[in-house]
Symmetry: C2
Subunit: 176 residues, 2 copies
Amino acid sequence: MASSVPDRLTPRAREIVTAAREVLESEGLAALTMRNVAARLGIRAPSLYKHFPDKDALEAAIISDGFIEMAAEFEAAGAAATLVDLAAAYRAFARAHPHLYRLMTDQELRRDLLVPGVEDGAALPVYLAAGEDADRARAAWAFAHGMTMLELTGRFPPGADVEAAWDAGLRAFTAR
Amino acid sequence: MASSVPDRLTPRAREIVTAAREVLESEGLAALTMRNVAARLGIRAPSLYKHFPDKDALEAAIISDGFIEMAAEFEAAGAAATLVDLAAAYRAFARAHPHLYRLMTDQELRRDLLVPGVEDGAALPVYLAAGEDADRARAAWAFAHGMTMLELTGRFPPGADVEAAWDAGLRAFTAR
DNA sequence: GTCTATATCAAGATAGAC
DNA sequence: GTCTATCTTGATATAGAC
């Protein structure tokens, strides 16, 4: 069933965000330029500025979508999802969208440009799964983020058992 | 007491690395350009290419130094250092040299350009402190890296108790 | 070891016409 | 909503003289 929630963006702006997302995911962050986004739509870069004030605004639109989708993945894990469940969803999201993940998490965040509430929407399930212990939730998030980044950047040595490292960390965080 | 180990670099190359390191640490990764490095030495960018084949080689020299210094910090924590001790040293290093830390850890690593062994030299103390359990060592590293990056990029919400999050994670990893 | 001159490329953004 | 033309800036790197 299709969603009937009205889009926060105009139809043309939505097309631009879609194109930008495609450029990002297929060619990486360095390729996310106004020229490349425009080219994917068959237009010229200056035309984009009639729909977004600058590149930061376009990036923020992509990032907001990312948080909304991440929150949806967490919700799909169920209201009773454990930290282990959420870690699996988190890792799957990052592996499915590695460049988007880095855009969302690996730099300063222009919160003033985001759709209000999207960051909290993704964080809340983790907080709940951590027994409403904010410190534990942040530590578990840091572990997942660290594993994800080291995995995405190829920092573990060749032959390292990444699955086993995830398991070892999750065991630590869920031991009693 | 001064070290008597002969430098792997020529004297002029060492001066260039020092200048590059100063640019990086004081102005950030985006400012680490051949022009800026040269300017700090009072020369022009093309002159640098008589000492380093390209920018990647210069960056690799900085990164190699970083690993050597990180290993030295771990050694200063003693042969019986625990994961908690090493985490404190790791965090202190990252906070003292945030831009260097990101250069070292937050991207693909050109291992072919590094001084051989420097990466392992920094990793070994963690492996030992983790009871020679490679999976546990990698998980603990990921936690420390994730906390460090989230801290450096300002991703925790204002008012978050970062110390408490570190403690919560370290407690998890050292619980029995 | 450093210089000038230059090649090459590419980025974000604006003005103003259509 | 898109265009062309342009501004401004700045990056890595090479050739060849001194």
